[in-house]
């Protein structure tokens, strides 16, 4: 759409700008403030420069939780995206079952995050929970509060349970926008189901998939509440992701300087990756 140049449009944007800036700038500057200074309470601050940043970037603890975070985000993307596409492809397009599917699938998205954690905690309890009991009675040695592998599996499956529906709904919306003529043409040409997917459906899904991957990347990279309630970051530190580690340092140990420096590094990483994504997405759109 061709847009008219109109500088007065700023007035329409002002309320949003004021509200978001109030919530974003002031806290962000507080964080910047803390990251450059040392405090011993009493509101006395001492200039520290970039010491905290160096300390965080060199600390093994940060490296470890960063690697865990990357691994986690990578794993859930690898599982959720293909699974989401698969479910979206096989979902009914017409009839009463569409509503039923949509409502049931969207349900996990609207559960408060700590309830998701608590629900999976209950579900996976080794002796009492449905999952834990079933796995143990099938002969698997499963205890997510003690074994790192079980804890990881439970966390990943929980995230898949929680968020795959987002990918499904996005892909479903994308698939619904393909006109029937395309499929008819493919049928006349005698195209195989794989060819239909590869040359008709996948190209149409490219846009929604970018949004899906972007959203899933951002949210999984910031994940805090669900694993915190489920495992508390344990056993040991094995499921301590970046946000959990950050809250531990900031509110647990009250090391404000290092926590603030870590916050900024963390935010910059998310921003950088999202910016790269966003640029690619916009470039594709222009073509």
């Amino acid at each position: 759409m061709n847009k008219t140049v109109n500088q007065k449009a700023w007035w329409l944007v002002t309320p949003v700008l004021v509200l978001v800036a109030f919530n974003a700038f002031i806290p962000l500057m507080t964080v910047v403030n803390y990251s450059l200074q040392e405090t011993f309470g009493n509101n006395e601050f001492f200039w520290e420069g970039v010491t905290w940043f160096e300390q965080v970037l060199k600390s093994e603890r940060f490296h470890a939780s960063f690697l865990r975070q990357l691994l986690f985000t990578g794993m859930i993307l690898v599982i959720e995206v293909p699974l989401g596409i698969c479910v979206a492809l096989t979902m009914p397009r017409k009839g009463p079952w569409v509503s039923v599917c949509l409502i049931l699938m969207a349900l996990p998205l609207l559960i408060p995050w700590n309830v998701v954690g608590a629900m999976w905690n209950i579900f996976a309890l080794p002796d009492i929970g449905l999952l834990g009991y079933t796995l143990n009675s099938m002969g698997f040695d499963y205890n997510f509060t003690q074994q790192p592998v079980s804890a990881w599996m439970t966390t990943v499956v929980m995230d898949v349970w929680h968020w795959t529906s987002l990918v499904v709904l996005l892909c479903y919306a994308g698939l619904c926008s393909i006109p029937d003529d395309y499929y008819q043409a493919a049928r006349i040409d005698g195209a195989s189901p794989w060819a239909v997917f590869r040359y008709i459906q996948l190209p149409k899904l490219k846009r929604v998939l970018t949004i899906a991957i972007l959203l899933r990347f951002m949210d999984s990279f910031m994940i805090y509440t669900e694993p915190f309630v489920l495992t508390g970051g344990g056993p040991g530190n094995t499921t301590t992701f970046l946000s959990i580690d950050l809250v531990k340092i900031a509110l647990g140990q009250f090391d404000l300087g290092p926590a603030a420096a870590m916050s900024l590094i963390y935010f910059l990483i998310v921003l950088l990756i999202c910016w790269a994504f966003y640029t690619i997405m916009m470039r594709n759109e222009e073509q």
Binding site: M1, N23, P27, V87, L104, A106, I122, L251, F267
Partner: protein
């Protein structure tokens, strides 16, 4: 090879989704003794005790009321400021528009854990700590950008001729906007409101940091019960089951727009 019928995968997926929810529901109808006694698929001694406790104890049911209050305030604020802004982004070019749009989106990318402590200090400083409005305003951080993004998508789908005709007919900007434009994109507003409701309803970290007693959300009440008064699993499960209701209610109303809304109106 046996060909699986087409409904097989969605059905399997839905069963997978429903299992933990079933676990939660069935546990909420059990007595504490039965829960700790071992696993059972169906509640043996069916009881409503857990629910009765929640509906008679003000610290419990106030949690639900608090959550709903700030979620509704947040949705109203987000949508009402996002509407004009989205209109500006979809219709006009102005200095710095693209940068502003991306900057808005970056706030959606800020990890709440980064902002928890500064938010606490900010809202304490302006004497809003432990009020509903504080949580509602804090949630604007990620809900306004999202609302702007979704609404902008829907608005760009409306031809510009609509605006031009109205202006030619002598409508002023606000009269056109409120009388004609807003009703035209009602579906988009519904979807945006759904998302604001959803993200405000499920968020806990900020809501918990900004409240202590008067505006404490239900989610925070649950966490405290779990840690202080032993592990009352039945009560916890009942409280959790009740948090599913507002979500299910909202989904039911927007079910026809849901798929479109998830594509942010831009497919």
């Amino acid at each position: 090879m046996v060909r699986l019928p087409k409904w097989f995968i969605p059905t399997l997926y839905i069963v997978f989704l429903m299992l933990p929810i079933y676990g939660l529901l069935s546990m909420s109808f059990k007595t504490t003794n039965e829960i700790l006694g071992g696993f059972s698929f169906f509640p043996q001694e069916f009881t409503l005790e857990n629910y009765v406790k929640i509906f008679t104890d003000p610290t419990w049911y106030n949690g639900y009321i608090n959550s709903l209050i700030y979620v509704v305030i947040n949705t109203v604020i987000s949508i009402s400021v996002a509407l004009p802004a989205a209109y500006a982004f979809s219709r006009y070019k102005f200095l710095g528009d693209k940068h502003l749009f991306f900057w808005l989106l970056t706030n959606r990318m800020a990890p709440p854990a980064v902002f928890a402590l500064p938010f606490f200090q900010l809202y304490s400083a302006i004497n809003l700590f432990d009020t509903h409005i504080a949580v509602a305003l804090a949630h604007c951080l990620f809900n306004i950008p999202l609302a702007v993004w979704i609404l902008e998508g829907f608005m760009s789908g409306i031809p510009k001729e609509l605006d031009e005709t109205a202006y030619l007919d002598g409508y002023s900007f606000w009269r056109f906007f409120l009388r004609i434009f807003v009703p035209t994109i009602a579906a988009g507003i519904g979807v945006a409101a759904f998302f604001c409701f959803m993200y405000s309803w499920v968020e806990l970290l900020l809501a918990k940091t900004l409240t202590s007693v008067d505006a404490k959300p239900i989610a925070a009440t649950m966490t405290r019960t779990a840690s202080t008064s032993g592990y009352e699993l039945g009560l916890l499960a009942a409280a959790g089951s009740l948090t599913l209701i507002p979500g299910a209610f909202v989904i039911y109303f927007v079910r026809n727009y849901i798929a479109k809304g998830f594509a942010l109106g831009r497919v």
